[in-house]
Symmetry: C2
Subunit: 457 residues, 2 copies
Amino acid sequence: MGKFSMRHLLVVSVALNVSLLLRVAFETGTEGLDGVALLKQVVGGGVLAELHAYRQTHKATSSSSSSPSTATLVNYTEDRVINLDHGDPTMYTRYWQQAGDKSTIVIPGWQSVSYFSDIGNLCWFLEPEFAKQVLRLHQIVGNAVTRDRHIVVGTGSTQLFQAVLYALCPQDAIEPISVVSAAPYYSSYPAITDCVKSNLYKWAGDARSFSKGGPYIELVTSPNNPDGYSRQAVVNRTGGLLVHDLAYYWPQYTPITSPADHDIMLFTISKSIGHAGMRIGWAVVKDPEIAKKMVKYIELSTIGVSKDSQVRAAKVLEVVSDSYECTKSVEETLFDFSYRKMNERWTPLREAVEQSGLFSLPEFSPDFCKFSGRLFKPQPVMHLHTCMVRCAAFAWLKCEEPIEDCEAFLREHKILTRSGRHFGVSPEYVRISMLDRDENIDLFIERLSKIGLEQPI
Amino acid sequence: MGKFSMRHLLVVSVALNVSLLLRVAFETGTEGLDGVALLKQVVGGGVLAELHAYRQTHKATSSSSSSPSTATLVNYTEDRVINLDHGDPTMYTRYWQQAGDKSTIVIPGWQSVSYFSDIGNLCWFLEPEFAKQVLRLHQIVGNAVTRDRHIVVGTGSTQLFQAVLYALCPQDAIEPISVVSAAPYYSSYPAITDCVKSNLYKWAGDARSFSKGGPYIELVTSPNNPDGYSRQAVVNRTGGLLVHDLAYYWPQYTPITSPADHDIMLFTISKSIGHAGMRIGWAVVKDPEIAKKMVKYIELSTIGVSKDSQVRAAKVLEVVSDSYECTKSVEETLFDFSYRKMNERWTPLREAVEQSGLFSLPEFSPDFCKFSGRLFKPQPVMHLHTCMVRCAAFAWLKCEEPIEDCEAFLREHKILTRSGRHFGVSPEYVRISMLDRDENIDLFIERLSKIGLEQPI
């Protein structure tokens, strides 16, 4: 009882102290998480549980907090740091909030006791329902050949990437195999590859300047992180092993022109449907021996993959597929929602960039973002988006002369981005996440427009 | 509709084909998972989803399946392979089934979108509620000092072990640091340590015969896997870094004599309360710099840890703690249940081993399995078990002469165990899981008794 009162007092105290912030959160009109997450960027993590509890129990009583002046709010917005460094896909939160109860899951306490999910399967820790829903979604979207392939689940595609390196490199090699990718490449590839200084593999940088003989592994990220372009292997030499990272090969980001058909293809829940916190990815693998070695790696690394997250992932994937297979549904489907969002963000961003004269963005050739619904029942239905600009998950922004360090320049304007340096190219470039919350993206574009106006021509 | 009928037919067909097995499962009188899991050892994984669905919808109609003769059942039992190689803690399933709805969790579809759990925390992917329940349980059980320590969550303690190696080894070392543990050591340590042939660390075998100078890492597993003995560091030289793996330092396995107080302590959900499929472990770490490096490793390895499993783990931990803090509760608590189970298994196992003349087991000095409830409210309550034998999670069995290869010998009797070879000792030893289902443990002990009778004296 005493404990409760203390907690209650703390909540009230915190609520008064951060009333301004709460007000901002409430005024955005978002439900639940968004507002709290917004605050999280300003307030330290310690009081957040309290704030969250406060919002849960005081949703309708925000008027009791003291009301800040409009001027203060403007200052707050202007001063706020916008962190678009990470590709945290919080944009998807609202879709799943709107989707309601059908994606809710109930897990009884006795579930997830055994290590094993499917002992008859090559991948013994793969939940059968998750595998089923993965195959079903690929079938509907048409973005990957899955027939006669093995599905290997991983703790995100990051773990699967390491599992692939382990699987492709012979244990008795004299020297580490070179791992390359064409710059600009995903900034985490070098750090992950060289994390524990393996003697099996070693990061060897930009695939375009790779000249060493012998076996090598080339990572082909398509559409590419950070720049959004479609890609193919560039080294093309004997002894080359290819890994296709297809995290962004989904209709909200790029036209699905044909089902990808490669030996090793990596996908992830975080970028396809938004649940980064589940830490679930999957690989589609042709060669059973490679798949077995990947399973062995995941066994040694984490003894399998969270069953709870696999079960949840299966449920949300099912909801996505159901919404496409039910033609009578009037609700907005996940890919429609996220494509629309991306387009609503890219259009004003391109405008702001063009007007500024300070920045530039990749130019994509105009094409249809065609997400074929040819397998829909009871009769084929085509979903077509007119997509004059490809809606990449990241804006790969270039600062024009005389700005040399784009990341530092934007940081001065309280916009946090990731420098081109991390992607193997010049600091004139930065990567900016386009998957964040509306509030952050809107504020970012607004601020970018103002920077253009402020600068001398 | 057509799809449903096909599925229904398949279910019926499967049900008829495996009616014998179903009958066995039903006769054990277990609820839900146990029976299915029993079948899993005999039937391939492919039909199991159907079987499970069948059982869920036909719980009361087992009489409709054809009834096998008693003779067939006996043969089935006698021929069955008993797999006690893995430490799969399926013993706990029944406890959680009996615990009922209070450990059930409901997760809405919009949860687990962001990567971040607690950005103010050193361990940014740690769910605050999970951390809170971990600290609470340690406080109740009294098995670890947690004050002024950092909690780092991992995808099982296996990942945390690797995170510790990464954290303890300088990136610029000239040669890999030796990693040792006194034999018999946990069989996975060598394979995990040398998995990708790191230049940072290298498995160097039995700590007792380790003579190399310079820095080293010693793994102290206490109680030890496989033999159950309490342990302390054995090398004790300058430059030594200690990692305490306390996966089994819980009251069902060993007396909790005092709160463990070491620099780095590893724990896991799988062995403390049974949910191996969650893949959740935690480290209690004194030095914030070490904790930060561990977090960095987990960031590079899997970009955090499943939120869903952390949230579920928090719930089941809460149920365990609640049952101890509520002194009016008449239900059996988790540690009571599991201690009783272990004791019910060890007593007949020791009898069978003594009578056989073929085997021997570790002798533990008689002691109280004292699980102190001194922190219970409203007044101190002591829970005492009289425990003449320590109830280790594994039976570390030695085959006496003339049997040289104990694993091969038991395999002939269709008992699968793990050879002493994997633990750095002679093949006269095997490790046998004592955490499996009742049916398997009972059958194992029964079969072991018969082996003794069958052999010529």
